[in-house]
């Protein structure tokens, strides 16, 4: 019911906050059409700032290339197969690593989140392992797998796994007791409880976890390539850096960022579908 938006509520104190859906003008379709351009404005604004900062001499263009230069370089790269091979290398390891992390994180998270005993038993070990950065596992990864994709995967999975795990655990812990009591009173089995009550409650947390994991995985894919030298965008960045090709560095950085935006657009679209019933989404979809 609450489609957060800003509406002045008149008289004494103008409060800008969540308004019932009906106060929002326009139909669902209309809003969806408006959604994209608004986001584009934001991106365009950012690009403008990045164009101006080196142009007005705030930072020397030798170190921070103006947007136009980056776009030009990027346009040149896009025509090359090697660019797409690098993108593919990164995206592939990202996707595989993410899938592994999401599945493992969800399964373990659901189990730990709903079985109090196991959660208490493992919490200290988790708190111990979680802050260990993937990057410090580089020697181990290289030792085990060299600069093979599996090295990257180890780093990606290790980093992304925790994101999903923690969110899912918090979510599984947050099941509405009345909802759970209802299920129990109808003698829903463990699996049915999981599927029909726990999982829908976890879903919003899970989606946040996946979005966090997706970007952490992308970060680790690129970082892994940078540090280990496994093929992909990160390696291209490192090579461009070491040959002082500044616009090229930024072109690859921008590519990474755009990948991130794409990933999020996808996640949002999925979210709108699977969470259409949730207060955070239903206001936005309803007229």
């Amino acid at each position: 019911m609450s489609g957060p938006t800003s509406v002045s509520t008149g008289r004494a104190s103008p409060v800008t906050l969540s308004q019932p859906a009906a106060l929002q003008s326009g139909t669902a379709a209309h809003q969806r059409r408006r959604h994209l351009p608004l986001g584009l404005f934001g991106l365009i604004g950012l690009l403008l700032v990045l164009e101006l900062v080196p142009r007005i001499g705030l930072v020397s263009p030798a170190y921070l290339s103006p947007t136009s230069e980056i776009v030009k370089t990027l346009a040149g790269e896009v025509g090359r197969p090697s660019f797409w091979i690098a993108v593919w290398d990164t995206v592939r390891s990202w996707a595989i690593g993410l899938i592994i992390a999401v599945i493992a994180g969800t399964v373990v998270g659901l189990i730990l989140g709903s079985v109090g005993f196991l959660r208490r038993l493992t919490s200290s070990l988790i708190e111990f392992l979680r802050p260990i950065p993937s990057v410090s596992l580089v020697p181990l990864a290289v030792l085990l797998y060299g600069n093979d994709i599996r090295s990257k995967l180890l780093l990606i999975v290790y980093a992304a796994f925790w994101q999903v795990l923690i969110q899912v655990m918090y979510g599984a812990h947050d099941v509405d007791p009345v909802a759970a009591d209802t299920a129990r009173s109808f003698r829903l089995g463990r699996l049915a409880l999981l599927r029909h009550v726990t999982w829908p409650t976890v879903l919003p947390y899970f989606m946040t976890g996946v979005r966090l994991a997706a970007s952490v995985a992308l970060i680790l894919a690129v970082t892994g390539e940078l540090v280990i030298g496994a093929p992909g965008l990160g390696k291209e960045i490192a090579i461009a850096q070491s040959s002082a090709a500044i616009p090229l560095v930024y072109a690859y950085v921008v590519t990474t960022g755009l990948l991130g935006v794409l990933v999020n657009l996808g996640a949002r679209a999925v979210e709108r579908r699977v969470l259409s019933w949730h207060p955070s989404v239903r206001g936005e979809v309803a007229a």
């Binding site: 609450s2 957060p4 938006t5 800003s6 104190s13 409060v15 906050l17 969540s18 408006r34 608004l38 986001g39 404005f41 934001g42 991106l43 604004g45 930072v59 170190y63 921070l64 038993l121 919490s123 200290s124 070990l125 708190e127 111990f128 979680r130 802050p131 260990i132 993937s134 990057v135 410090s136 020697p139 030792l143 925790w162 969110q167 918090y170 947050d174 759970a180 919003p204 946040t208 979005r211 966090l212 970007s215 992308l218 970060i219 690129v222 970082t223 540090v227 850096q241 560095v249 950085v253 990474t256 960022g257 991130g260 935006v261 990933v263 999020n264 949002r268 949730h278 207060p279 206001g283």
Partner: protein, 260 residues
């Protein structure tokens, strides 16, 4: 008596599994000949001699200071921006792609740009930490705010709460369970970013030392450093839980009461 028993069991839960894993590793790695995977005993030796000695003041403390500053900055930014973005759809629509763009840029490639603006000192490292830790806080704040019960909001609006009161009394408390989920996640990410930030332009710090040890092939010392990282995360998470238990006492109580 029961109090003592409760304390004892909760302690057993905390140390139980780590102890088992430790013992397993101790015997599993005893007599290891792999240069990169030394025996637990060697690691523990270097932990005691090296890390609990001079490095504590030289490397661990400066790291902790930067960590604290970066985490605080991330928390303020994340909650502040998160509430703003969560409350207003236009703001969300404009900012989301920009935020996602930045979120996808790996800190190691962001660092050179940060160096341009923030130099190579502590400021830069604090920004690097904040730039990574802010995301879970931001995302969870946005989602937490968006999921506030509509009836609770309607109530506040009816009583014409000021904007401030609405935020402080309704939106933030209602979103606080999820905000805390984000803060907790950010804590370990901040530690990770602390390590990454110290890979650039550093002269001391826990992350710096670990990378340095790794590069100079002091492998047992490096593993000992990683253990210190883990211990650090562990201690901080206990501190965190202490705070969380107080701030979210109502939520715990609510859930427990309803479950009892």
């Amino acid at each position: 008596m029961t109090w003592l028993l409760r304390r004892a069991t909760s302690l057993a839960f905390i140390v139980g599994l780590p102890l088992v894993v430790f013992v397993a590793l101790w015997f599993g790695t005893a007599g290891s000949t792999n240069f990169y995977l030394p025996s637990m005993q060697v690691i523990m030796d270097s932990l005691a001699s090296d890390w609990l000695g001079s490095r504590l003041g030289d490397d661990v403390l400066p790291s902790l200071a930067r960590l604290a500053m970066g985490y605080l900055l991330a928390a303020v930014l994340g909650v502040g921006l998160g509430v703003l973005v969560g409350l207003s759809r236009p703001v969300r629509q404009v900012l989301e792609p920009v935020l996602e763009f930045f979120r996808a840029i790996p800190p190691p490639v962001l660092v050179p740009v940060l160096i341009l603006f923030a130099g190579i000192g502590t400021t830069m490292k604090v920004f690097v930490i904040a730039s990574g830790a802010v995301w879970p806080i931001l995302l969870n704040s946005v989602e937490g705010v968006r999921a506030v019960d509509p009836v609770q909001l309607d109530t506040a609006r009816c009583y014409r709460f000021s904007r401030r009161a609405l935020l402080r009394r309704v939106v933030l408390p209602a979103a606080s369970p999820q905000i805390f989920a984000g803060l907790r996640q950010a804590l370990s990410i901040a530690i990770i970013l602390m390590v990454i930030s110290e890979m650039f332009a550093a002269t001391n710090g826990l992350g710096f030392a670990i990378v340095q040890l790794q590069r100079s092939f002091a492998i047992p010392e490096m593993w000992a450093g990683i253990v210190v990282l883990g211990l650090l995360g562990f201690v901080l998470s206990i501190l965190f839980r202490f705070v969380e238990d107080r701030v979210l006492a109502w939520h715990r109580g609510l859930r427990r009461a309803e479950r009892s």
